[in-house]
């Protein structure tokens, strides 16, 4: 019994150490101090266009997404994640969250792939050609509330892209999709995907294109008041 307790205690220390080491690594790998040499703005919050108007179904979308978030992670989701001291435990919670969101959005056929890559600044992505979501769990493996909150925003951001694409596909097929507001929105998403500009090509144009504006604002609306960073 004493040996088993010692093993568990050692395991706990080793896994916790993994998180702490990763914090120090991720804290430097964004290299912001190397890129921005003048004084930086105080606010580095993920930008939220306060004039963006949510349509009727988007309001319901945000509300029900918040319900799922509360169901899985409570009223303080960042605190809840940070209270879990192993990456494994955090991954389980992420799995539960993504499964419930897939069900809510009717996107169960979208594959979800979790990677761990602390060498990249990419938090998540949706590959519409493969209908696959990718989340980088390196952002879950820190004790940094800011990065943890940003990871949650990213989860909702990428899921919103899945919903956008499904809106386009179902509208083209003549299938009713419960989250499709109207023809104008479906066409807006369709054009946005057809003429998509990547971050690498032009970060300014990337930021201003409709599918990104929509995903950004919807995900921030879901996390507003829930991200205690």
């Amino acid at each position: 019994m004493a040996l088993a307790e010692a093993v568990i205690a050692v395991a706990g220390v080793v896994v916790s150490a993994l998180i702490i080491e990763t914090v120090e690594y991720i804290g430097t790998y964004l290299h912001n101090c190397d890129i921005f040499t003048d004084s930086q703005p105080d606010s580095a919050e993920f930008a939220y266009d306060k004039k963006y108007i949510l349509k009727e179904k988007d309001v319901l979308f945000v509300s029900q997404s918040k319900d799922v978030l509360r169901e899985v992670l409570g009223d303080s989701p960042v605190d809840r994640i940070l209270s879990l001291k192993s990456v494994d435990a955090r991954m389980k919670v992420l799995k539960e969250l993504t499964e419930k969101l897939s069900s809510l959005y009717g996107t169960e056929d979208t594959k979800i792939r979790i990677i761990y890559d602390a060498s990249t600044d990419v938090c998540g992505d949706y590959e519409k050609d493969k209908n696959r979501l990718i989340f980088n769990a390196a952002f879950l493996a820190t004790d940094n509330p800011y990065l943890t909150g940003h990871f949650l925003v990213t989860v909702f951001h990428e899921f919103r892209h899945v919903v956008q694409w499904k809106t386009v596909c179902d509208y083209n097929d003549g299938t009713e999709y419960k989250w499709c507001n109207d023809e104008t929105t479906a066409n807006g998403f369709a054009e946005g995907f057809a003429r998509y500009i990547s971050y690498e090509e032009n970060p300014l144009a990337y930021y201003n294109q409709f599918v990104e504006v929509d995903a950004r604002n919807v995900s921030m609306a879901i996390m507003e008041g829930r991200n205690n960073v």
Partner: protein, 140 residues
């Protein structure tokens, strides 16, 4: 006595460069050229100098180290100049995009077809069984 030379870059030449050398679509090339046209004159001058000589400006440009931006954000030099101009005109908004983790991963995977794992992935979890296997060494 000496007049400063003007550098002019034809729209067609730049567009051809963006499409054939950097893989831009027609649409993204046009948008990018439009952004370049509206840049701060000093930033535009630096961009044109780079385009004709292939040499990035030394040090920083309007508070951004271009070389590090390109290295760590994996953007091409054209995007980097646009980012500098954006940061100059709207520093708060630009900073949130340039300084935060990204949600666009065009080049994330080394081998996109490899379903098992990208080459850069590390194992994320220390399994209890692995620790158990080493327990004797730790306690010895």
């Amino acid at each position: 006595m000496f007049e400063q030379a003007k550098i002019t870059l034809k729209h067609s030449r730049l567009k051809n460069f963006l499409i054939s050398q950097l893989g831009y679509t027609d649409h993204s090339a046009e948008i990018t050229i439009s952004n370049l046209r509206n840049m701060h004159p000093d930033i535009l001058k630096a961009f044109l100098s780079w385009f004709t000589t292939g040499v990035l400006p030394e040090g920083t440009l309007f508070g951004i180290d271009l070389r590090n931006l390109i290295r760590y954000r994996k953007v091409n030099p054209v995007s980097a100049f646009i980012a500098v101009d954006w940061y100059h005109k709207d520093p708060e908004k630009a900073y949130t995009v340039l300084a935060l983790p990204r949600t666009d991963a065009s080049n994330l995977f080394v081998n996109p077809e490899d379903e098992s794992a990208p080459c850069r992935v590390r194992k994320y979890a220390v399994k209890i069984s692995d620790v158990t296997a080493n327990a004797d060494d730790l306690t010895a």
